[in-house]
Structures are given as C-alpha cells and as structure tokens.
Subunit: 225 residues, 2 copies
C-alpha cells in the first residue's frame, strides 16, 4: 500500500541509461549529475531521490556493464565457455570504452560480478582444478582479461600519434638496445591473435592444475564429459 504522492517521472534505470549514453558519447568525465539531469529534462536535484550520490551512479554504471556480459552457453565444454566469456567481456569493453576501466576499481562483490565469477568457478571445477586452486585461478584469469580490456580501450597499447617505427627512431640506441634489436617485431600487433595466444597459456595452466590433482576424487581433466 504505497502512499499517494505524485507518480515518478524518472527512475533508477532511466538515470543509468542516460548516464551510459553520455559516457559512451563523451567519456565518463562528461557524466555529471547536471548533465544526466538535463538529458532527462529534470532538475539535478531530482536525481538524488533515486541515486544517493555520484559515486553510486558510477557504481551503477559498472554493474550495468557487468550485466551486459552474457553467461556462456552451458552446453559448451569448460574451455569453450571460458573463451566465450572472455570474448564477450571484450565486446562489452569496446562498446563502452569510457566506462570499462572503472571495472578494475570496484570490489567484485555485486550480483553482476558474482554471476561471472560463478560461471568461471564452474568451468574450472569441470576442468578438474582442485577446489583450493579455483579461487586464485579465477582471479588470475579475470585480472588478466580485465587488464587487457582496460589497456586496449584505455589506450595503453596504442602508440599515440606516431607509428612504432617513428617512435623507435627517436630512441637512443645505447639506452634502448632491445627496442632497436627487435625492430620490425614491434611494428605490428594483432589484438585478436594476441588475446587468443594468452588464453592458450591460461588454458594450459588450468589443464596442468587439473592433472596435478591427487588421485582422490578420480576426476581427471578430459576434453569431454
């Protein structure tokens, strides 16, 4: 039996959608309470009835991004599920490059984060990783993937305005011998194959942890189950 005040004109969800639209178009820095309010045709103070404060709004944005990552098809094997999860994280990162880096700065304890962690736990368990190793393996995987995605959309991997070869020409040969010795190997970077290559490493690690497991449960890592 709610009270009979006037009906709300905005909502938590509408606020989040407006904030995300601004962030995608002009970056997180452009997300201000005033800008969000203006986009909703409302006074800045109207937001505070729904939001708490600006930090809560940013947390809401992070949560929304996490919820955009689809859970993998349960009919796939554990390795395919992990790969799908990673690919989909990258898709979301590229869709919201301004917001994504915030992911690394909030505790991963919200429902949006926990559902992904749960899915990774399940994949690792199915792979045969000993329970004691599962949590840290999950953190290893997600830290790398989040760091990779943040680096890619945040510009850490990009070279600025110069090409790699141009930058190298400005480097002292004595101070940076390896940069000169590697030469053309620094020129091309293929993000697609690089990520896949890294994931093979982690997958190999998972198989190794599973194989090392003492023969108590008898559950060995196998391609299919």
């Amino acid at each position: 039996m709610p009270g009979r005040g006037r009906p709300p004109t905005i909502s938590w969800d509408a606020i989040l959608r407006a904030a995300l639209a601004i962030a995608d178009a002009e970056g997180v820095r452009a997300v201000s309470m005033r800008a969000v309010a203006q986009r909703l045709g409302v006074t800045p103070m109207a937001l505070y009835r729904h939001v708490g404060d600006k930090q809560a709004l940013l947390d809401g944005l992070v949560e929304r991004l996490l919820l955009e990552v689809p859970l993998p098809n349960p009919r796939l094997g554990w390795a395919a599920r992990l790969r799908a999860l990673v690919d989909d994280v990258l898709v979301v990162a590229r869709r919201h490059p301004g917001v994504f880096p915030l992911l690394l700065q909030r505790p991963a304890v919200t429902p949006g984060a926990l559902r992904l962690v749960e899915a990774i736990f399940a994949a690792l368990a199915e792979a045969g990783v000993p329970p004691a190793d599962i949590p840290r393996t999950e953190r290893l995987l997600s830290t790398y993937v989040l760091g990779y995605a943040a680096s890619e959309v945040g510009g850490r991997f990009s070279a600025g305005t110069l090409t790699p070869a141009q930058r190298r020409a400005n480097l002292d040969r004595d101070a940076y011998p390896m940069h000169h010795a590697l030469g053309s190997h620094l020129d091309h970077r293929d993000p697609q194959t690089e990520l896949a290559w890294s994931l093979e490493l982690i997958e190999g690690w998972v198989r190794m942890l599973a194989a090392d497991q003492p023969a108590t449960s008898g559950a060995r890592a196998s391609p299919r189950r």
Copy 2:
C-alpha cells in the same frame, strides 16, 4: 642566454611533488589545480606557465610513478630480474594507491615506461624467447602485473565491509552453487603467495617459448622442463 625576467618561484618538479602529496593523502580526486597551487603558496594560474593543463599534470604523475620503479640488478639472472621488477611495481603501487590505477590508461610510450619495457625485453631475450614472441610476452606480463596491482590497491579484491563468509551467507544456494561448494576456500587469500604463484605460471610459459624456439610451436604445456 635566457631572458632577464624574474626568477621562477615554482617548477614542474615542485608541482609534481605537491600533486603527488595531495594524491597520496586524499586521493587523485583531491588533486585540483587550485589545491596544488594553494599547497605551493601560489595562484592557480601560476601553474599554467609550467604545466599545459590538468591532463598533463596527471600524465606527469603517472610518469613519476614509473620512474620510481628501480631497474633490476643486471647481475641477477633473467628470472630473478623479472621477479624483482614485479615486486618493485607492487611496492610503488602500494606507496601511491590513489594514482596507480591511472597507469593502465595511458600509452606506455614515455621514458619511464620504456625503460621498464626495455628491461623486460632484455630478460626475455636472455631467457631465449624468440624475438617474434618477445613483444607480446612483455605485454602479457605487464598487463597482468599492472592489472593485479591496480586490483589490489583499487579494492577489486577486497570484500567491502563484510567478511567472505558473511557475504556467502546472503547468496542464494541455487544461483551460486559454486560459491557455496567452495566454502572456506573463499575465505582466505594470501596476496603474497598468490602473486608468486601467478608469476610461476608466466615463468613456465617463458621457458616453454624458449624451448620451442628451434622448432615451430604446437607443443603442449608440461609441468617441468
């Protein structure tokens, strides 16, 4: 032959030190041109003679952090040098938790970044990694380490106010079966051994790449080599 105007009362270095002091004490958010100026006993506009704009100031902060990471002792072996580098990155991250996460968001093309990249290149070359694999192995290592450090100081690994067990009690058993199955394995986390454990993985990968060098790739991960 410089002109004969009045001598400067502040400098780029003094500005950076003031900004870092504020960031360490109150977080990056508290770093404003006005706050830095006040700490230096000067008008906000005085900074613009030395700084360009606020983004340049933040870039300067990032660069300063990178320059704080000491280069490893060249008399150590490659594996010990990599471990020292990683440990020292963590030391700097913990010393400046507010600024460190910015590291993932700027192109790694400044002198402060390049000297560390160069050191990693050299270690990987000494290990015997094929030149074509060195750049992506470096990015794999630094992405993980930076992501790990950012997660640790940024709070992604921390549980907020609740203990892990308390949070687990609030989780639906049907939606989060793995969280319940893992139980006590989620309670304790030892950051020290966890990082070392992850680095062993990367070190093993480096040894494998080095061993694969003569032939083509396609080998499987093996526990020992």
